[in-house]
């Protein structure tokens, strides 16, 4: 009986410790969100989304240029990075022992651990230094370079989770390998690939360092990828390090907008790829 009591207590202690770990893990996230809302929400109004910044000292204005810049650059980065990343991931999953796949996997792991500022410097030498001007496209290229290894590795891992029996079932129906891979294997793990892609998009949408040397930032509305371009993280950086209280408020509000943009992107992609069925296998 005594042992039973001790066992119950042991269970309670362990469950308590795990709940504690969850609270500690979630607390910073809630604190960040709470601070952002508390400090930034007050400065957000319609003008903040639709207007351009005003000179220091004046009140009002907005970050429309940075919202457009982030959407454009992240969009182009996605157009470049997602197909390459997903394609490379599929190759590595289909030909796991291939020499090229082994090398690609290793390079991707190294790239995933590379500080993003290094990638910014690389994009600078590759594009900005050659063209002799900063550009939104150089920013997109830098962001794409960050996305590719992330997306590639998650795609490969997701495909590997699909049971081999499903692949065999499709092949036994006479499916060619490409059809098996696309309409059965990739189709089955598509939600996982979408999640991986979203994480990559969310990650690069918040990247500042690779844009410093590439897109540079701008005070004006620029929709030309060949010109320097504003972005939300760059705007946060500029305003947060500025000397005025007004700027700090704008920085908080911009950070909140950045999080909302990521949230909206995630929701849209989720709705677009919603599963018709509950997938339980």
């Amino acid at each position: 009986m005594n042992r039973l009591v001790w066992r119950r207590w042991k269970s309670r202690i362990m469950v308590g410790l795990m709940i504690g770990a969850v609270v500690v893990a979630v607390a910073p996230l809630l604190l960040i969100l709470g601070t952002l809302v508390a400090r930034g929400a007050g400065s957000i109004n319609l003008a903040f989304f639709t207007q351009l910044p005003v000179p220091a000292g004046e009140t009002g204005g907005g970050v429309a240029h940075a919202i457009v810049g982030t959407l454009l650059m992240v969009g182009v980065a996605g157009l470049i990075g997602l197909p390459i990343g997903i394609g490379a991931g599929m190759f590595c999953a289909e030909y796991p022992k291939n020499r090229l796949a082994t090398v690609a996997r290793f390079v991707a792991d190294v790239m995933n651990g590379t500080p993003s500022i290094v990638i910014g410097v690389f994009a600078w030498t590759l594009i900005v230094a050659k063209q002799k001007h900063f550009s939104g496209f150089a920013g997109s290229a830098a962001l794409a370079m960050i996305m590719i290894p992330m997306v590639m590795r998650t795609t490969e891992e997701m495909i590997k989770l699909v049971p081999h029996s499903l692949r065999e079932a499709a092949l036994a129906l006479g499916y060619a390998r490409w059809r098996t891979s696309l309409s059965v294997v990739v189709r089955t793990c598509l939600p996982g690939i979408v999640t991986g892609s979203l994480l990559a998009i969310a990650r690069v949408a918040g990247e500042t360092a690779p844009l410093l040397f590439t897109a540079l930032g701008s005070q004006f509305m620029s929709r030309d990828l060949n010109q320097p371009m504003a972005a939300l993280p760059l705007t946060v950086f500029t305003y947060a390090t500025g000397p005025y209280d007004d700027w700090h408020r704008i920085a908080w509000a911009t950070a909140l907008v950045l999080i909302m943009v990521v949230l909206v992107l995630s929701l849209l992609a989720r709705i677009a790829t919603r599963q018709r069925f509950d997938v339980r296998q």
């Binding site: 049971p163 029996s165 499903l166 692949r167 065999e168 079932a169 499709a170 092949l171 036994a172 129906l173 006479g174 499916y175 060619a176 059809r179 309409s183 059965v184 189709r187 089955t188 598509l190 599963q275 018709r276 069925f277 509950d278 997938v279 339980r280 296998q281």
Partner: protein
Amino acid sequence: MSANSLMTPPTVSLPDTAPPPPFGRELIRATDLTAFYGTFAAVKNVTIGFEANRVHALIGPSGCGKSTFLRTLNRMHEVVGGHVTGRVLLGRDDIYGPRVSLTNLRRRVGMVFQKPTPFPTMSIYQNVAAGLKVGARQSRPEIDAIVERALQQAGLWNEVKDRLRQSAVALSGGQQQRLCIARTIAPEPAVILLDEPTASLDPQGTQRIEELLFNLKKDFTIIIVTHNMQQAARVSDTTTFFYLGTMVETGATKQIFTAPTQERTEAYITGRFG
């Protein structure tokens, strides 16, 4: 009841059907077939023919090569990196011939696996129609008719006819396996290979599948791998015993189970090993 009595097989009941005619039409024949994984020969020099519209059972202990042999008949053995020597004739075609289309071969030789494998992203209807995609384009009414017929033949139509658009993974294990049978027979193959199709099912699900085989052999030639000797005795017309990669004995099921010519066959079916 002594512990030993668990090892004694229960009395084997045989189907009350007439024995197969001695000179049936042979549909598929393996000649001197050896199947390798790398350098290891899992199946050695097997020569055997299978008559059309019969149920043929392959039995033997685990690792005896019966599943591997089955998978050489639709060239699924190559999917796991194996290779074979010897020949397999389907009708008059050498399925290992140089110009064989794997798609066409697997449309003529369908396969059902040990675990039910419905495609989780497809509805019940789409699952059954999945195998039709690789063939000639068919109109919607044609596909509708094929799906209904296949589900009827698989004995699943009445259970799913009102929820064809719903997910296939919501079905029970036994229903999923019958769905896989419907998916396999929808393209009208000549031969159906079943690799322990009832191994993951409960007794009721197993019984449904066994009853099905009885009806399916009117339209198809069936080769079934099973670990369950009573099942082999119940459902099959011929039985082939594999041991250590070689084919020990093949013959009418009744003969194999009552008067095997090989000592190893007798030892296996009476439960003395395996």
